[in-house]
C-alpha cells in the first residue's frame, strides 16, 4: 500500500493542482472587485429592483452548478451567437479553455463575495456615513475611506470563501471547460475521472491536497476574524 502510494506520487501529473490554484486565484481577484462593485452599486438601487438583482446574483449559490453550466453553454457555445461572435471577432474561446474554468468558477463563487460584501456594508453605522456627508466628504471618498475599511472582516471572509469555492468548483466547470489534461483539468475533475477507473490511490492523493488547502483557508479565516475581534 505504502509502495503503491509512493509510486503513484512519483508518477503523478501535478498539472491539476496548478490549474486549480490558478483558477481559484484569478477567480478570487475577479470576485473581489466585481463583488464589491456590485454590492456598492446595487445597494443603492430602488426596490423591487434591488431584491430582484439580489436574487439573481445569489441564485448560483443554491442552484446545482450544472444549471449554471447549462446557461453558460447556452451563451458561450461555439455554435451559439455570442460564442460565434466572440470567437470570430476576438478569437476568444470560452468553451474547452482555461477561460471557461475561470468563468464557471466566477459565476459560482461571486455570490459568496457579493453577499458578504453587501452584508458588511449594511452593518456600517448610518451615523458614520451621514457624518461623512456633513463633513463634506464625497460619496466616493465615504465609500473608500469609511465604508470599505470598516467592512474589512466581511470582505476578507467573502474573499477567502470565494477562493475556496472556486478551488472546489466541479459541475459548471466540467460542462463549460471540459476536462482537458494540462489545460482545464482541475483537481475536482481529476478526482472524478480517476475514480471512474477505481483508482483510489490517485484520487486519495488529490482528496488530501484539496482537504489541506481548504482546511488551511478556513483556519486562516477563523484566526484572522478572531484577531479582529480582539
Amino acid at each position: 500500500m505504502m509502495n503503491e502510494l509512493l509510486a503513484g506520487l512519483r508518477s503523478l501529473d501535478w498539472s491539476p493542482l496548478w490549474i486549480s490554484l490558478k483558477t481559484a486565484c484569478i477567480t478570487m481577484v475577479i470576485c473581489f472587485f466585481l463583488g464589491i462593485f456590485l454590492a456598492q452599486k446595487l445597494g443603492k438601487w430602488k426596490e423591487p429592483w434591488q431584491s430582484i438583482a439580489d436574487s439573481l446574483l445569489t441564485l448560483p449559490m443554491v442552484l446545482p452548478p450544472t444549471v449554471a453550466g447549462y446557461f453558460l453553454l447556452l451563451l458561450f457555445s461555439k455554435r451559439r451567437p455570442v460564442g460565434i461572435f466572440l470567437y470570430s471577432h476576438f478569437g476568444i474561446k470560452v468553451v474547452q479553455s482555461f477561460l471557461g474554468c475561470v468563468l464557471a468558477a466566477t459565476v459560482i463563487s461571486l455570490p459568496l463575495m457579493y453577499r458578504n460584501a453587501k452584508a458588511s456594508f449594511a452593518l456600517v453605522p448610518k451615523d458614520l456615513v451621514q457624518a461623512g456627508r456633513t463633513l463634506g466628504l464625497s460619496e466616493t471618498k465615504i465609500f473608500w475611506k469609511i465604508i470599505l475599511p470598516l467592512s474589512g472582516p466581511g470582505i476578507l471572509s467573502g474573499t477567502v470563501l470565494s477562493f475556496a469555492r472556486a478551488l472546489g468548483e466541479y459541475g459548471a466547470t466540467s460542462m463549460l471547460a471540459g476536462n482537458i489534461p494540462g489545460k482545464t483539468a482541475t483537481i475536482s475533475q481529476r478526482i472524478a475521472l480517476v475514480m471512474q477507473d477505481q483508482d483510489y490511490v490517485t484520487a486519495g492523493v488529490w482528496v488530501g491536497v484539496v482537504l489541506l488547502i481548504s482546511l488551511f483557508c478556513m483556519t486562516a479565516l477563523q484566526l484572522l476574524s478572531k484577531r479582529k475581534e480582539l
Partner: protein, 387 residues
Amino acid sequence: MEKAEQSSFCKLSFQLPLDSFLLDIHFSSNKKRIGILGASGSGKSMCLKSIAGIVTPRQGEILLGDSCLFSSSKKINLPPQKRRIGYLFQSYALFPHLTVWENIAIAMEGQDKENLLSNFWKRGKSGDREISANSSVFKEPRESKSERIFALLRKMELSGLEKRFPAELSGGQQQRVALARIFANEPKMILLDEPFSALDLYLRDKMQEELMLHLEDFPGQAIMVSHSRDEIYRFAEEVIMLQEGKVIGQGETKEVFRQPKNRQAAILTGCKNIAKAKKIGEHSIFIEDWGLELTMKQEIPEKLSAIGYRAHDFIPLFSGGEENAVSVQLLSKAELPFEQNFYFQPEKGEGEICFLVQRDGPYGKMQEIPKALQLREEKLLLLTEEN
C-alpha cells in the same frame, strides 16, 4: 456689521412626514444659541437632520444667512456636503478605524477642493495685478493643514491624543474630537443632537460647561436638541418646544420657562401641577380639578383652559381659612437627597397636587403635614389650549 448679523440668521419652515405624525416646523431666529426642547420621539432629531440635509422635507424652505439650503418651491436641495453644517451626533460618529488626527484631517479634505476651486475662480476673474497678489496667497493657503490640526487639538485640549483611536478615549474626549472635526470643516452652523445623552450623569454638568466654552468663539448659530430642560435652559437664548412634530411654544428661553403659554409647554418646562380651570369673572378663576376659586388682581384671559403651578411655589398652611388656598389631604411622600415630595389630594377635587420642599429651604424643617396649600398670584401660570 450688517453682514455679520445676516450670517447668523436662520429661517426654518418645513414639513416632513414621520412614522406617526407630521413634523411641522416654523421658526426663524437671529440668536446664536437656539434650543429645541421636546420629549423623546417628538421629532427633534429629525428637525436637525432636515437642516443638515440628511433627510429631505416634503415641502418648505430652510434658509441660513443669505443662502438657501432647501426650498421645495424653487426646487433647491443642497446635498449635505455643500451645506457646511456641523452635526454633532448623539453617538459622536467618530470614524473608529481612524486616529484622532485622521478623524480631523479627513474633515479638511472635503473642503480643500472647494478652497482651491474658489481661489481658482478668484484668479480667473480678477485683474493682472491682483493675480500676482492672490497667487502668493495661493501658494501658502493660510497655515498648513497640520498646523491647523495642531491648533484645533490644542484648542480642544486633545494635545497628545492624536495617535489614539476613538475607542481608546473617554466619552468627553470623544465629544471634543467630534467637535474638533466639525470645526475643521469650518461650518456655518453647528447642530448638537442630544450631546450629553451618551455621558454618565455626573459628567454631564462638567461637559455642558466645556461645550459652552468651546462654542464661545464660534461665530455662527448653534442649535441644540435635548429632552432635558436644564440643558436647554443653560444653553439656549431662544427655545422651540416640540411635541409630536408641532411647535407648541417658542421665544426667549427665560420668558418661555417663566410663562409658558399652554399645557404642553408648561409640562415641558417641568411644571408638575396642571389643573383644568375656567374664567368665572374678570378677576376670578375656578380650578375645577381642585375645587378652588381664586381671586386675582390681574385680568383673566378669555381663553383660559388650565392653570399651572410649580411644585415648589406653594406656601404650606397649617390651619384653614386663608384666601386662595386649597385644603388638602396627604396621599404619599417621597424622600429625595435634597428635597421632599408631597403628593396631596384636594379635599374638594379629583386631581393630585405635588408639593416640593427643599430641605434647606424655608419649609425644610416643617414638623407637621400642611392642611392647605396657598397659591401666589405671581407664580400662577395661566394656560390656554391653543399653541
